[in-house]
């Protein structure tokens, strides 16, 4: 139990550093630390699939982010936006936080899975009959590619859309001649 608290506190501290430091590179490295600890935490939460995915995605995201920031922005952009907006946002977000914190009492305690609280949930069927229905030993695989394969089609499409979008945004010749004259 305590190990989860330690890891979560570590993540929160790393996040705070990432948010507050002025140096972009160290900020990104802190985010990397958050991701690495998060991946470890997924492993302890018995989610090895997610742990693998998280760690490789983290590596790739870190490479991309470092690539973007290194040699680009050497100036330190510090400080926040204008005062009124800042105060208003902080107040609103604090209200959301205080409202939200109460809400988690309604959930089952940490360590008691949600699906055990209800009868006839989909997850119980996935666990007890997933192997014979789909033949996949990895139940997460059987869910994402068979029971909820339609979601995965959407997921692949999201990635496709973002790659096409990145190609469009980063294309060499933009070819629009009219609005330049503005």
């Amino acid at each position: 139990m305590w190990i989860f608290y330690v890891m979560l506190l570590f993540m929160i501290i790393a996040c705070l550093i990432a948010v507050q430091t002025d140096n972009l590179l160290s900020s990104i490295i802190c985010v990397g630390a958050v991701g690495a600890i998060g991946s470890l935490m997924f492993l302890f939460l018995y989610a090895p699939d997610i742990a693998i995915t998280q760690i490789v995605v983290e590596v790739l995201a870190l490479v991309v982010m470092v690539r973007v920031t290194i040699s680009r922005d050497v100036t330190f952009i510090s400080g926040d936006r204008e005062l009124f907006g800042t105060v208003a946002s902080i107040v609103i977000i604090l209200i959301i936080f205080l409202g939200g914190i109460e809400v988690f009492r309604a959930l089952p305690d940490f360590g008691v899975p949600v699906f055990s609280q209800f009868s006839n949930t989909a997850s119980q069927t996935y666990i007890s009959r997933g192997l014979q229905e789909t033949g996949a030993a990895n139940l997460v695989s059987s869910i994402i590619l068979d029971f909820r394969g339609y979601d995965t089609l959407g997921e692949a499409t999201v990635l496709f859309a973002s790659v096409i979008g990145a190609t469009v945004i980063l294309r060499k010749e933009t070819g629009k001649s009219m609005e330049v004259s503005r």
């Binding site: 608290y5 990104i28 998060g38 997610i50 998280q54 936080f97 989909a122 666990i127 973002s162």
Partner: protein, 121 residues
């Protein structure tokens, strides 16, 4: 309590995304929010002393069926499937946001979002 800390992580990310004026910091804020949400979803399915939802030899009995022990110990696989999807979606969003940042930087020479607005007039 764990859920509350997780929500705190979400709030930190939200604050970072809303308040900072550096574009990369805003992207970092969104990344942190994503971690928090993913963690929250996985926590919902966690079971103390459970096993991962992956069947191996030890969880099959002699007839090839599942042992009762596995069925009663496995954590919830559904949130894991959702998180796998949401990690990919997060990566897609990140790629797009970063490319917009890079393009903007090459146009303006800065990541400062308030300066960009001023330059535009």
């Amino acid at each position: 309590m764990m859920y509350g800390l997780c929500f705190l992580l979400f709030t930190i990310g939200l604050l970072c995304a809303v308040l900072k004026k550096n574009m990369v910091k805003i992207v970092i804020g969104i990344m942190i929010m994503e971690y928090a949400v993913n963690l929250f979803l996985i926590m919902l399915g966690f079971r103390f002393g459970g096993t991962a939802p992956i069947i191996d030899r030890s969880s099959l009995n002699l007839e090839g069926g599942l042992t009762q022990q596995f069925i009663s110990a496995s954590v919830d696989p559904l949130p894991q499937a959702l998180v796998l999807t949401s990690i990919v979606i997060g990566l897609g969003t990140l790629a797009l946001l970063v490319s917009i940042c890079v393009r903007t930087y090459e146009k303006y020479g800065t990541f400062d979002i308030t300066k960009i607005r001023r330059l535009q007039g």
